[in-house]
Subunit: 462 residues, 2 copies
């Protein structure tokens, strides 16, 4: 494919991309496919001969898109609704063209320095002190795994050479994301040493329950290693009390990690300062711009006040990666398990500049306002109940008629293709989650979705 | 940014992208910047107000590109020269537009099924048996870390709940990639339990040395857990003897992982069948299409014959990720630490179709032929010596005049901007590495680069 052939095909692709953005509301959010449909529609082997780019693009439009769940749809409300806004998409086009691997400064000064610049900008938006060092990971799962690696290195520095010692303990809320437990498994702490601390009012981690667990573990000869607080839990977006947890972590010489992958994005808003309480005392904080700052997947940021601990835990520099500027400039590979590093900072740079702080704040406020408005609609309809405080852009609700009716309602809405909702279980009861986050979602979209929910509820429970 | 504003900006970006491809040879491969230059050129804070996309694209062209190392340049010969070919760049444009997270089947049937289809295609190209299950990771570092996680789960199934037990041992060549050792550190096996087995002829891992280490470790009460063979080491592209290593692994009930991140791509060629010897007996194999199959960074594939071990090691399904098709279709999150999954298979699908098997084979053969031709030129010039067998697309050479002269030569070529070479140390001696892999590299490029090397050598040693 010559550059001129690429130019023609890419212009065609761009027109499709812009059309997709324009007409996305006409697509069902959840595709109407059964398991295996796409596999059966595709050949079992790759072609022997080259195929034309036209036929590949045509198959993309005809086979792939209709089998896709439209994450960038304004009525995608499942999981944490995320969106990749147009400036970020532009940046991804350029990232792919440059095809950079920014493992050391020399392998791309631009990638290394732009990562430091953009994460400095974001640190300022988040009100974090300047000593916080940021690094981009692909996902929050990996960011949190690295936080636990640093925690292990701080509490048990022998881990690097000797292996993970027995008896390190990680504490997190019973509503923490599964990635905390998975990280504990991965780095050799063991699932049984990831304690699930009970929650109290507002589904927030109970400080007294944590303190009791720590005392019991110490009495049993175990070594408290890390507290993972969550700012915006997946099930209901609750916010753990980070400030008192920071006090406990300091007293017990534990690492404090804050999983603000979702909720942390709202900390950009001055009026949401309570989300940031205690952050300056944290050892690490993860915020996912791909979850709430309009950046295409994948871009997760891990900030740490102790980069030297992270580096000490992981740095390994073979001869073939030594360069003349080592020691002078950071080589970002030194802070991560992955050697390879895509030029992800470029998309954060595009998005932060294209929106500006005011534009980003307006976007975030609109999400919160739509969530509060929806909460009001739910409360005004006697068939429904709100199941958790609406603090961020997630509304949890159910039909008073019960679990079966609530599940049937979610499935009916999803099958209609109009919107995509997901669920959780709170206190043993089935709860529908409706998360808001798409850059194209309007108040009218929300009214339409709520009307659809009410319509399907009418069919189910009258 | 409206879809129409995006359309205009993206057409502008596409023209820049095609121009960049066309004129890339006019750019220095290594940028002429000092540490901190870009940071000083950029504002210390993000803008308050939104900026125009024109000004952002302009800064990209004027500030970012000149500070970038041009990985996609036909004379980029450092590390493992990789290239993201135009069909893969097109796919990345679409991936960003869809912004999919394929963690479970339902969250994108297309992403889940296309990953299975394309990895089936690639499995066939690699001559692997059908029981190998493939999963895409971002980088080989993470693929190998997951292989070690599975090895740990097979040998010590109690690891998941109890933590990594003491005394597990991983064996790999003294020339293995640093990611193996880093993975051993990360998952709690400990650096001292990652044994570096001596190499023999052709820098291949010595089977007798491995056997002796295993006997010594068993006698000391340790538990041999995993052998990591390398097909295409980073320093000199040597190939470990996988078949006898597989016999040892089976006898000792260890996991056999094959790190073929670079070299495995050449296993697509029928005439390179020796690269695949013993693969069918391996427990896991990593191959990086972003290193040798023209796919933009990042796309690493981990194949395993024991997906149930991987799943058992890592699967954790919280309520909010349960779906009606669980058990019917694979949910790819079950096999990885990362929950989030970009729609990476789309770019492999574009590339495999746009090249076809014959086109990919022709590309791979051309890389090998250029390496052999270069080897001939080096041997024909009495000032130089070839430092390792040229088996793949990497040529290791040095000036007979010694380390200082060789290092000065590499630096002179790099500073000229004409090409970018890297180095390693073999047997205590400084060696220049010249790796070939760009889709635009021609025989004329190679002649020009060799002429430049000879010219700089003339200045240094006459």
């Amino acid at each position: 494919m010559t550059p001129e052939e690429f130019r023609r095909a890419a212009h065609e692709a761009v027109d499709w991309m812009a059309d997709y953005m324009t007409h996305i509301r006409e697509l069902p959010v959840l595709p109407r496919v059964a398991p295996g449909d796409l596999m059966r529609a595709l050949p079992g082997s790759a072609p022997e001969e080259a195929e034309s780019i036209e036929s590949i693009l045509s198959d993309f439009r005809e086979l792939i898109v209709p089998a896709n769940t439209q994450w960038n749809h304004p009525r995608f409300h499942a999981y944490f609704s995320v969106s990749g806004a147009p400036p970020g998409i532009l940046a991804e086009m350029l990232i792919a063209t440059l095809n950079v691997n920014g493992m050391v400064w020399k392998s791309s000064p631009a990638a290394t320095e732009l990562e430091m610049v953009t994460l400095g900008w974001l640190r300022e938006w988040l009100g974090l002190p300047g000593e916080f060092f940021g690094l981009i990971h692909d996902t929050a799962s990996l960011s949190s795994m690295h936080a636990l690696l640093a925690a292990r290195a701080m509490v048990a520095p022998e881990s690097r050479v000797e292996g993970t010692p027995k008896g390190l303990v990680v504490y997190t809320s019973e509503h923490a994301h599964s990635s905390i437990e998975k990280s504990g498994i991965a780095i050799g702490i063991g699932q049984k040493h990831v304690r699930k601390v009970a929650v109290g009012e507002g589904y927030r981690m109970r400080v007294d329950a944590l303190e009791q667990m720590i005392e019991e573990d110490k009495a049993a000869g175990l070594r408290p290693c890390c507290v993972c607080a969550t700012v915006g839990t997946t099930s209901m977006a609750s916010v753990d009390p980070v400030a008192p947890l920071a006090d406990i972590a300091r007293r017990e010489q534990m690492w404090l990690h804050v999983d603000a992958a979702y909720g942390g994005n709202f900390a950009v808003l001055p009026e949401m300062g309570h989300l940031r309480e205690g952050w300056a005392e944290a050892d690490s904080i993860v915020v996912n711009p791909h979850k709430g700052l309009l950046t295409p997947i994948d871009l997760s940021v891990l900030y740490t006040r102790r980069p030297e601990v992270m580096r000490g835990a992981l740095s390994l520099v073979p001869e073939y990666l030594k360069t003349a500027t080592d020691g002078e400039m950071a080589n970002l590979m030194d802070y991560a398990v992955a050697l390879g590093r895509r030029f992800r900072s470029l998309k954060l740079w595009f998005v932060m500049r294209a929106y500006g702080r005011k534009g980003m704040e307006a976007y975030l406020r609109a999400q919160l306002a739509m969530a509060r408005e929806l909460e009001g609609w739910v409360r005004a309809d006697g068939r429904f109940e709100v199941c958790a405080p609406v603090e961020l852009s997630l509304v949890c609700f159910r039909l008073k008629a019960g679990d079966d009716a609530s599940r049937a309602l979610m499935e009916a809405v999803n099958e209609s293709g109009h919107a995509f909702l997901s669920h959780t279980v709170l206190g043993g009861r089935f709860v529908i989650r409706l998360a808001i986050g798409n850059y194209q979602t309007t108040a009218e979209d929300m009214r339409g979705t709520w009307a659809k929910v009410q319509e399907e509820a009418g069919r189910l429970v009258g």
